[in-house]
């Protein structure tokens, strides 16, 4: 079991937070999404969403582009190549953990 704990401890803390995991999963499923769509998809408040996106941007997992659409400010968010690799790797780790937990037998 200690190896399972080690695997859990090795999970990326930045991604394992539910809101950020949800955001990265949504962004990995599309080309880009704007701030309002991400808010609708995750149910986060604008303040929370802003904080999480800033952390993901600081880590180079997403890029944000601020622009005006129909004279209104609009923030487009896109996952980076690094972000795509990191989230896919994270999902693989989670799937492995789940499989290990299902297959575990007492000695």
């Amino acid at each position: 079991m200690s190896s399972v704990f080690a695997e859990i401890a090795a999970l990326d803390k930045l991604l394992h937070e539910p809101a950020r995991l949800s955001l990265m999963t949504a962004l990995s499923a599309c080309k880009s999404a704007d701030f309002l769509a991400l808010q609708r998809l995750t149910g986060l408040t604008s303040g929370n969403l802003s904080v999480h996106l800033s952390k993901l941007e600081e880590s180079g997992l997403v890029v944000m582009e601020k622009q005006f659409v129909d004279k209104r400010p609009n923030t487009q968010v896109q996952i980076t190549e690094k972000g795509r690799q990191v989230i896919e790797n994270h999902w693989r780790q989670l799937e492995n953990l789940r499989r290990d937990a299902q297959n575990w037998r007492p000695d």
């Binding site: 995991l21 949800s22 999963t25 949504a26 962004l27 990995s28 499923a29 599309c30 080309k31 880009s32 999404a33 704007d34 701030f35 309002l36 769509a37 991400l38 808010q39 609708r40 998809l41 995750t42 149910g43 986060l44 408040t45 659409v69 609009n74 487009q76």
Partner: protein, 200 residues
């Protein structure tokens, strides 16, 4: 895990789930079908269908604005396979329309193409949503059956709808199901999104 999968599904199909987008085009198809059915001989004055098409375009722009303002924008990742299959579908639909006009066969080719479209979109997009997949498959089966009815001796099912030929019958049905499907998808979309924090 399931909620994350659900979020992924919603993000992947965000624009398609915005069902009201399908209504202007379906309505356009419906009203132009009814207009074409009312014509005696070749149409000479196309003012009315052009105005109807413009009205539907304005309606679409309003729907687009509504979704962008209320639900935001998601740009889909369109795969090469998807683009290729869409092009094939459009070419087949055009060929089927011409084929039906020329009465090449008793089977309605346009109906078969519509059936294929329902089956294909069901499997391609809506496999995770069993109810939508099943609805698509039922519609595909209905269109396929209607297409081959003339071969088994039932030659004018479109007459029951007051229409002149099978092409008008299929476009009318496609338009009606487009409107109903659009409303169902919109309701599904709105109910699938998590409640805003203030309301939850």
């Amino acid at each position: 895990m399931d909620s994350i999968k659900h979020t992924r599904f919603l993000a992947k199909n965000y624009p398609q789930l915005q069902g009201l987008r399908a209504i202007p085009l379906s309505l356009c198809l419906l009203v132009i079908t009814l207009w074409a059915n009312s014509q005696q001989g070749p149409a000479r004055d196309l003012t009315l269908p052009i105005l109807l098409a413009l009205g539907c375009l304005v309606f679409y722009l309003l729907v687009d604005r509504y979704y962008n303002r209320v639900y935001g924008r998601v740009k889909r990742t369109v795969t090469h396979a998807e683009m290729f299959l869409s092009t094939i579908g459009a070419v087949l639909a055009l060929a089927a329309f011409i084929g039906d006009n020329l009465n090449i066969t008793e089977v309605s080719l346009l109906g078969l193409v519509f059936a294929a479209v329902f089956a294909f979109t069901g499997f391609w997009y809506w496999r995770p949503v069993k109810s939508v997949l099943n609805l698509n498959l039922v519609l595909a089966a209905c269109f396929a059956i209607l297409s081959i009815l003339p071969v088994v001796g039932i030659r004018d099912w479109w007459g029951f709808l007051g229409l002149k030929d099978s092409i008008l019958g299929f476009t009318l049905l496609f338009g009606i199901f487009g409107v109903i499907g659009g409303l169902i998808f919109h309701i599904y979309f709105v109910r699938s999104l998590p409640l805003p924090p203030e309301a939850s």
